[in-house]
Symmetry: C2
Subunit: 241 residues, 2 copies
Amino acid sequence: MVPTKKHLEQYYSYLYKLPLFNNLTQKELQPLFETLQVRQFHKNEIVTFNSKEHSRLYINFDGLFKLTKIDERGDEIVLKIVDKKDLVSPMHFSPHYDVAADFVKKTTLFYFSQESIAKTMADHHQFSLNIVQYLANSVQSLMLSAEVLQLKTAKEKVGWYLVHSKINSTFELPYPKSLIAAYLGMQPESFSRALSELKKEGILLDNKKIKLENGDELCAYCDPVIGADCAFFKTPNCLHS
Amino acid sequence: MVPTKKHLEQYYSYLYKLPLFNNLTQKELQPLFETLQVRQFHKNEIVTFNSKEHSRLYINFDGLFKLTKIDERGDEIVLKIVDKKDLVSPMHFSPHYDVAADFVKKTTLFYFSQESIAKTMADHHQFSLNIVQYLANSVQSLMLSAEVLQLKTAKEKVGWYLVHSKINSTFELPYPKSLIAAYLGMQPESFSRALSELKKEGILLDNKKIKLENGDELCAYCDPVIGADCAFFKTPNCLHS
DNA sequence: GTTTTTTCTTGATCTATATCAAGGGTTCAT
DNA sequence: ATGAACCCTTGATATAGATCAAGAAAAAAC
């Protein structure tokens, strides 16, 4: 899909603000931006992202999808919830690896071809650094997920997710509970039961809004990486001080 | 530790062959190699790798260790088994993330400071590309681990690991069973029981050597990424054909 | 080559979470 | 407003793998 001129200006200013393009000027980015492509996916569509047909870098402009793997039995893991401004780069996968993009909402993705990205990396060292930063963040968040999924109990997983929501998105659960449950590697029933356990500790979920009795109940479920973005990080009240 | 001149030559030719330095000449690498540092760790030593004190890129020259996270209860996950020639780059972690390096054998690590690496990336675009490749591989192998750990049963996990060993290391289990069990997120007892299940399918482990009755019994546990390195990949006998 | 230590196996039991089943809320379309 | 999906919750039951315990085998130390 080729976007209209009018939209393009709007798209460029959206892109320009993304961390991927940090410390690069509009002028430097212009040649890359001119290769921008746009594609829409409808709700419930499922697309296989492999490096053969999707040797690209995708940016979620608007919408929501999950990156998943499904096995022969139909069991699924959610590798990543891809919200607005998030990236996915099948261009970095090996030719034999693939994941499914499962669209939760109607979604508009931007993408750049592997060649455009490679050229921009060659022309602007800063862009290479940004790509490295993006991949390093991906590595770290996958390591953190592995830790959460393997070591935490159901209640701890849910508590941990609520801390994230508290710190990032102003006390609100950003997605349906069943999506979060899948991301945490548990069944919706277990998620629900974990929530009722947390209620006993003064942590209440009222129509997706997190309500706390004292305000510090979630600190027990925090980790230092997400904690660093908390207003109370390393104050006497914080566990990571 | 400053290595002697005699050792240095040997070290350089070792390094030069690593994928990290693909498509770079000895001459291009010389300035980086001159900043090489070496450190030894003894068996059972545990070191916290965080980006504050370990803002470096480590290369395992000789020995074996595991990258782990341990929680308050003492439960551990193994994020990666780091064998000879493998890399770990705490320099890419956020300042608040850390992992433990738990040395299984006496180990000699090489390392380069973040500054040396950054300079080499700036001077040689190819080196940036190699760093990107290394991180992309890390992302992919973490995604694959997540899949294996979450979706597979104990027996399938062990079968999957045996396929790896079969394809990479000539039918031999490279590490103690308890280490592999930990890497697969299971107890040694469960590993042992899984092995006896596999025995019924004609898959026998005789003193770390994998013995198969017909030769194709492990194919059921293969994945396409590791499968691509198998001699029979995409032949009629292969499940991924 | 014998002892000591570590690793592995096997059996009995326990437990957290999955699964199955059914009812209660919300949201959306008409 | 009313019905139809869909999502969530709660209860009963099942189960894979953990834990506990003890013995066997292998490796390391002397």
